[in-house]
């Protein structure tokens, strides 16, 4: 998105793909051009909705009355820009970023779905943390265009995304966090559809149950205070879906069903869902053992799979499904094993 203010200053806003897939957070990459069409001070704006605003956003798809945290991350790398507003450094560019102190924002009347103007108030410098710094890597999918005679036409960057991680260090010198002047475009990510195509996951009763299951997993707490939770997905003869949570001993890395758990399994159960109370890239070694993943990835464990195999064999229901919810994805699997797992984005819960 291009915006030109009354002085001729141009800014370009790029939507950033959020690799973690959270509906509550999105990024925009802002590139500014000076009068000589040179890029300066590229930065990211990170929008983090608070818990109360997420359902409003999901129902309206706009940022009107945005409630949450806005973080400006100044990119210290050299991002060149041509007049067509395309980053010229391409895929794999490492860019150092500095997190600016938190500021307050207000939205202009155009701030809504799909973009629009955003007027910035001078940020209130609150809770500055000079020791906070992030390292960001900017990636882009690049296409070079040529005429039929081979004349180079230019380059397009279709998709730009940034991965950032906290690093120790101090903020850069200078004043890259100075208040913004003029307008900055916002590109709000398309609202993720709440239909996954999976009859079970798209059912409102199940979605409510999954939401409760996740909340009961205490994922806002430190790793060692979180716990797995699970329950049976039930389909009655009329085709209605319901959920029955189990109360089995558990910790952050597993659940221990009693030896007679099948006796208490609902006769119409068609699947079992349980949580992995982690978010992508979290280091799980401190709670799950030294051999656990340094960076958690969505999926199911071998014991999770064996649990499903056992239930399927004992009930002779080889269509029985397993689901694992973590902070980013829902992984569905069945008797056939890892090759047949399907991962879907979490949807509204």
């Amino acid at each position: 998105m291009q915006l030109v203010d009354s002085s001729g200053r141009e800014t370009y806003t790029f939507a950033i793909e959020d690799e973690d897939g959270s509906v509550a957070t999105f990024y925009n990459l802002i590139l500014q051009l000076n009068a000589d069409q040179q890029a300066y001070q590229p930065f990211l704006l990170k929008y983090e909705m608070d818990e109360a605003f997420v359902p409003i956003y999901l129902s309206t798809g706009t940022l009107e009355n945005f409630s949450g945290r806005l973080t400006k991350i100044v990119l210290n790398g050299n991002l060149g820009v041509d007049r067509r507003g395309t980053a010229s450094n391409g895929a794999g560019l490492d860019v150092d970023g500095t997190v600016c102190p938190g500021g307050s924002v207000s939205f202009g009347s155009g701030g809504g779905s799909g973009g629009g103007g955003w007027s910035t108030d001078p940020p209130d410098i609150a809770d500055p943390d000079p020791n906070t710094q992030v390292k960001c890597t900017v990636y882009a999918d690049v296409t070079d265009w040529y005429q039929a005679d081979g004349t180079y036409m230019g380059r397009d960057y279709h998709s730009i995304w940034v991965e950032c991680e906290d690093v120790e260090g101090s903020s850069a010198d200078g004043d890259p966090c100075a208040p913004l002047n003029g307008e900055i475009g916002i590109i709000i990510p398309e609202k993720k559809p709440c239909k996954t195509g999976d009859e079970i996951l798209d059912n409102e009763n199940i979605q409510k149950a999954l939401d409760d299951l996740w909340k009961d997993s205490d994922t806002e707490k430190p790793l060692n205070e979180r716990r797995e939770n699970g329950g049976w997905i039930i389909k009655n003869d009329q085709g209605d879906l319901s959920f029955q949570q189990v109360d089995w001993p558990s910790d952050a890395c597993g659940m221990n069903p009693p030896t007679n758990f099948l006796e208490n399994m609902p006769s119409k159960a068609i699947g079992f869902v349980h949580t992995h109370p982690f978010f992508k890239k979290e280091d799980t070694r401190s709670v799950c053992g030294e051999g656990a993943k340094k960076k958690y990835k969505p999926g199911f464990s071998e014991y999770d799979y064996e649990f499903l195999v056992y239930v399927a064999k004992q009930t002779l229901n080889f269509a029985f499904k397993g689901y694992v919810i973590d902070g980013n994805k829902i992984t569905q699997y069945d008797f056939r094993g890892p090759d047949y797992q399907v991962q879907k984005n979490r949807c509204g819960y």
């Binding site: 797995e228 659940m255 464990s301 071998e302 999770d304 094993g337 890892p338």
Partner: protein
């Protein structure tokens, strides 16, 4: 008829005894479908690819999986477990398994009781060096 029954009983008893002697002789661990599936799981699960790359096992096929029965190899693997606390399990009810695929050995413990969660899986080189100790 009675003679046939006695003969059958003798053969069964002898076979059972031989099986026990063989196990004792080879220091072999048990084999099971469940244990074989654990190796298959390690070799095929997408989100474990980083572990396979770390250990160089990414090109192994599930058709290469074998239960380790060679007496000399079993002795070496047992010695490795004894020398390495990280390869041991002090939890009650867990069974030790030795499997191999290609030039790699796999040492892991499994409990028969059904549960959800993570379990150990260790990758060993053909010269009995620990390449990776994982929870899968």
């Amino acid at each position: 008829m009675k003679n046939i029954l006695i003969a059958a009983l003798f053969i069964l008893t002898t076979s059972f005894a031989e099986s026990n002697i063989a196990n004792e002789y080879t220091n072999s661990t048990p084999s099971s479908d469940r244990a074989k599936r654990a190796v298959e799981f390690f070799l095929t699960t997408p989100d474990l690819e980083e572990f396979r790359i770390e250990t160089g096992t990414q090109n192994l096929l599930t058709t290469q999986i074998q239960h380790v029965t060679n007496a000399q190899v079993c002795s070496q693997l047992n010695a490795l477990v004894e020398a390495n606390p990280g390869l041991q399990s002090n939890k009650e009810g867990y069974t030790l398994y030795f499997y191999k695929a290609g030039d790699f050995y796999f040492i892991f413990h499994r409990i028969e009781k059904v549960r959800l969660g993570y379990s150990d899986f260790n990758v060993i080189s053909s010269d009995f060096k620990v390449l990776g100790m994982y929870m899968i």
